[in-house]
């Protein structure tokens, strides 16, 4: 009845690694990806820190065999991650069953739009980027790059929960028998647009972000792309596939409290987690590790912390936020952390919430601060976003 949906492939590029393996190495060796920004010339460069992927667009385009300045950084990162996921899933022919692609993005091609906004009027040199402003354009480019045609391809943009919702929709599509296989995830690159946007909200930290710490100063923006391959039981058994883990539960709810802030007691988060438990047929005591949203903003960590205390009845299992490693990768965060959740299950580890020193005054919640080895069967991952969007995913070792 509550059978999970099989995950058979994963691909990921972030500031702590160009593939899944490199990300795992950084996570298990306390190596943060947070640094000063080098690739965007912003006036705020000395006031902020970011999780920037070290490869330049030129390098990414070279790797993909594209001419320089062909695409926005969002699809470039997305293509790299999606290809890794497909390769890990051992897919030779993407058209051998009903395959779909669901991607999440908030920035889309804004990196190029902000660069050439007025140049477009002066010369036709960069007109190739005009249509890239459509968020869906990045998804289309990923679909083309992986050879997906005549297929269900769509894009979700629910701010910082976008790719968590992409995973959720993908799982629902397979469950309903509408697709046999679906590549789900998201991609967002750094841009002046988001740097300045979050700056206006005064929630950017000027130093390393420290989730769930009393003295946290806000978030570091990051960039990443992460995709997972979900396949139906029929495909898994037909091809005798290795299953990495299962998407067991999912829940989406709206906080309906404020345009950008979370409610004081995390009502939306509680509802999302409750729904996910119901879909999974699990109870809070089944959870071995929580990968929290934990952005390190004053508001999120307080609201999320309270929601965890409510759901777990003051008995919160081991938890940590990995945003101190990657920064907040916006639309990609949900799928980045979905992959970290699967890696936690595969390797029986819990990641440290680096930077944490002092518990928050409002409650007695202490995240894991050192790498911990423990049998992990079930992981809960939260992703919240503007517009009150709250999403929870539950991953399991067994179906």
């Amino acid at each position: 009845m509550n059978r999970g949906i099989a995950i058979t492939g994963m691909g990921l590029i972030s500031s702590i690694g160009n593939n899944v393996e490199e990300n795992l190495t950084s996570l298990t060796s306390n190596k943060t990806g947070i640094s000063r920004i080098t690739q965007i010339n912003t006036v705020h460069k000395n006031d902020i820190m970011v999780g920037e992927i070290s490869q330049t667009n030129d390098m990414l385009e070279k790797q993909l065999g594209l001419a320089p300045n062909s695409y926005s950084r969002t699809p470039l990162l997305g293509i790299i991650a999606a290809k890794e996921a497909i390769s890990q899933a051992g897919i030779d022919n993407i058209k051998d069953c009903r395959t779909g692609l669901i991607s999440g993005t908030t920035v889309g091609g804004m990196d190029k739009a902000e660069q050439y906004f007025y140049d477009y009027y002066e010369s036709d040199e960069h007109w190739n980027h005009i249509n890239g402003l459509h968020a869906g354009d990045s998804t289309q480019k990923i679909a083309d790059a992986i050879g997906l045609a005549e297929s269900f391809v769509t894009t979700i943009s629910t701010a910082c929960s976008s790719s968590a919702n992409a995973i959720m929709l993908g799982a629902r599509m397979i469950k309903a028998g509408e697709l046999d296989r679906v590549i789900v995830g998201g991609s967002d690159c750094l841009s002046k647009f988001t740097i300045n946007g979050f700056k206006t909200l005064m929630i950017l930290s000027d130093t390393y972000n420290t989730p769930f710490d009393e003295h946290r100063k806000g978030l570091n923006l990051g960039e990443a792309a992460a995709f997972l391959v979900l396949e139906s039981d029929e495909i898994v058994s037909r091809e005798n596939k290795k299953v990495l883990a299962y998407v067991k539960g999912y829940g989406n709810a709206n906080d309906a409290f404020h345009q950008t802030a979370s409610s004081e007691n995390g009502d939306g988060a509680v509802l999302a987690m409750e729904k996910a438990f119901k879909v999974a047929g699990l109870k809070p005591s089944d959870i071995d590790y929580i990968n929290a949203h934990g952005t390190a903003t004053p508001n999120n960590d307080l609201s999320e912390g309270r929601s965890l205390l409510r759901i777990f009845d003051n008995n919160v299992p081991e938890f940590s936020s990995t945003k101190a490693f990657t920064g907040h990768t916006l639309a990609a965060a949900g799928s980045v952390e979905a992959i970290y959740s699967v890696l936690a299950i595969q390797n029986n580890i819990i990641y440290p919430n680096i930077g944490f020193k002092t518990p928050m005054s409002e409650f007695d919640l202490v995240p894991e601060t050192a790498l911990k080895h423990k049998e992990i069967n079930t992981v809960l991952s939260n992703s919240f976003g503007f517009g009150g969007n709250c999403s929870t995913l539950i991953f399991t070792k067994e179906a």
Binding site: T200, L201, M202, H258, Q259, T260, A261
Partner: protein
Amino acid sequence: MSNLKLELKEKIIEQLNLEDVSVDEIADNDPLFGDGLGLDSIDALELIVMLDKDYGIKLADPKEGRKIFESIDTMAAYISANKA
């Protein structure tokens, strides 16, 4: 001081798009947030930008705004004391 207060009222109405509010309707000691003018946390961020842009006063922590933006009186006093 009274000029500054009038100026602040005009700026708040314009900056925050308070189309249906006139300068006369805002008393100097009316609360700007909550039950008074009904401003919210996003308006507070807008007002922080106004302080920076028009009066050269930078606030690093949005929480500092709460006391400053209590009323036109408190805003005017803060600006007079801290103006660059």
